[in-house]
Symmetry: C2
Subunit: 344 residues, 2 copies
């Protein structure tokens, strides 16, 4: 039918024909079938987004950034939660390919030591699928475009801030160091210590097996209790995630440890409630929404880079690293007013 033309490129159809068609469509409540169109054109205007944990506000913010960019450009989002399980991530990639998504935004899960989904990601790249990796960059994959946050820098800033406050023993509640993001935070902490010529006490570094929220809380709680029981307890705590901080604060409150007098505390991730605590929490804010936006924009470039020549163009790989900021509040400084530390 000419109907298709009228709907897709109205300009090449005679005015009155077009009006007639549109009117009839309206009356019949006609709705084009997206599946048929996708089948024919091999394009779906859908983009798959795979995140490891959507109960975590961090990821929701990232997705918000992605959404702002991508739905504005006419794409629909298919959002999947891998739950930090490589197997699930794999299945979800599979499902999205079946839906013939036009592109993919993936934050790789920490699971799957099998490396299964890593090789899948390589396959995707080889096949020319528009793909941008978010936040985490597993060691195994190369030549991929990504948007990440400089975790090393964030941890370094936080550590330096605590050292500047006179702390010499800083407990590090690191998350999952199997993740590059986790390891980088440890690195930043170590750099801070090294810069001041301080020795590293391995006992002050605690890690977790996974980034799952519940586990984070539990690890924050129990590790903090262990710290408090040490002969030579730390005087400051650096929590590498919000959930860890929640557990840590719960432990401190339970033991009636004064913050910041007896224990200073800094955490990754600013939340709406961090200013409500007594004292308000010093944090390293992560540009989550911005990370999503940038990743969306980057993907969009690939998406709009139409393969006119029949097959996938060879694309330049791009990397963006976003800088986190330290926001100093009372939890880490005696009598301090809140202020933002500018970037170096």
């Amino acid at each position: 039918m000419t109907v298709s033309r009228a709907l897709n490129r109205p300009e090449i159809v005679a005015d009155d024909t077009r009006h007639k068609i549109l009117e009839v469509c309206e009356r019949l409540n006609y709705r084009p079938n997206a599946n048929a169109r996708s089948l024919r054109t091999n394009t779906s205007h859908q983009v798959g987004v795979i995140i490891p944990d959507w109960r975590n506000a961090f990821w929701i913010d990232v997705v918000s950034g992605i959404e702002a960019v991508l739905t504005g450009a006419g794409f629909q989002l298919l959002i999947a939660n891998s739950n930090e399980q490589g197997r699930r991530e794999d299945l979800q990639i599979e499902a999205m390919l079946s839906q013939s998504v036009d592109g993919l935004l993936i934050a790789p899960s920490d699971g799957a030591p099998s490396g299964d989904s890593l090789s899948r990601i390589d396959e995707l790249l080889a096949a020319g699928m528009p793909l941008v990796i978010i936040d985490r960059l597993p060691a195994g994959i190369a030549n991929v475009s990504c948007v990440t946050i400089d975790n090393e820098s964030g941890a370094y800033k936080a550590t330096r801030h605590l050292l500047d406050g006179g702390h010499r023993r800083i407990g590090l509640l690191a998350g999952n160091i199997n993740l590059d993001t986790g390891q980088q935070r440890v690195d930043g902490y170590l750099r801070g210590l090294k810069e001041r010529g301080l020795a590293v006490d391995e006992q002050l570094i605690r890690t977790a097996e996974t980034n799952a929220a519940l586990v984070g809380r539990e690890v924050g709680y129990s590790s903090t209790l262990e710290f408090l029981d040490m002969d030579n307890a730390p005087t400051a705590l650096l929590c590498t995630s919000n959930t860890i901080a929640i557990g840590a604060i719960a432990a401190l409150q339970e033991r009636r440890v004064q913050i910041p007098e007896e224990m200073a505390i800094v955490s990754f991730g600013d939340m709406e409630w961090t200013t409500l605590l007594s004292p308000p929490l010093t944090v390293i804010t992560q540009p989550t929404i911005e990370m999503g936006r940038q990743a969306g924009l980057m993907l969009l470039e690939y998406l709009e880079d139409v393969p006119e020549d029949g097959h996938k163009r060879h694309r330049k790989q791009r990397r963006i690293v976003l800088e986190p900021q330290l926001i100093v509040r009372a939890s880490s400084v005696r009598g301090a007013a809140a202020k933002t530390i500018p970037d170096d």
Copy 2:
């Protein structure tokens, strides 16, 4: 090809043929095209979920509940965020129908006084589309299955709790009363007062135009300041949402008002951080995940009610109302230990 058979109903295919087929599929990295299948079978194994604000943990929890049930049953979720805008909601329903989703789960937005999406919902029902409404039930629609929370009861429990604590002037920071949920919370508050024969002071009831998170915070903040400036200020606050509570607490802290001595506070919605506040926050917990689960299960019933007779079966409408619980913490009682008030 017989391939289709081997993949979909392996049992009706000879063993060796099947093995051969599967092996070849593996080797070629074959992936069935979901669009083609949907086109042919008119079923997509996709379910659309439309929520008003995914930056709000409330809705994310609801979606988690839905996901647990539906992905377990082999359905993929299409999640859309209407941002409380009726127009967007409308477009999203439209888009989902285009994708030929098998069913729809909708939390209607408070926008669109046009009633446009209301009539759309009626259309969907008339067309026999499996549909379950979540959390909110706009006045205009009838004969629809839904899962909601008893907001009236929640507000009533909270009010009674405060009255039992000796409070006689309770400020109500109501959200958007254009929403049935908002109005019900006001009703529960009024019932509490009435039961004790107390007069209602309209000045103590503040409402907002929308449920957007930022607005909630702002309204909580400014209304609380106004309360504090009254000659006859309330001695207790009932916040109908978390975001409102955040604003209210910020205002109280700013004015150095002692909680609960000078102002008791109760809020809807338990969050991971509510116990970290000083004092910990008394809340009405809403069974969000359970609401999602129940809605998912309800939809699943419709989905599995296969239209063998060729067209949509006339289905019984069902309604589930979930009961919220009051968790008493120190923010509403002097020197109280935390405890849960059992249902009546």
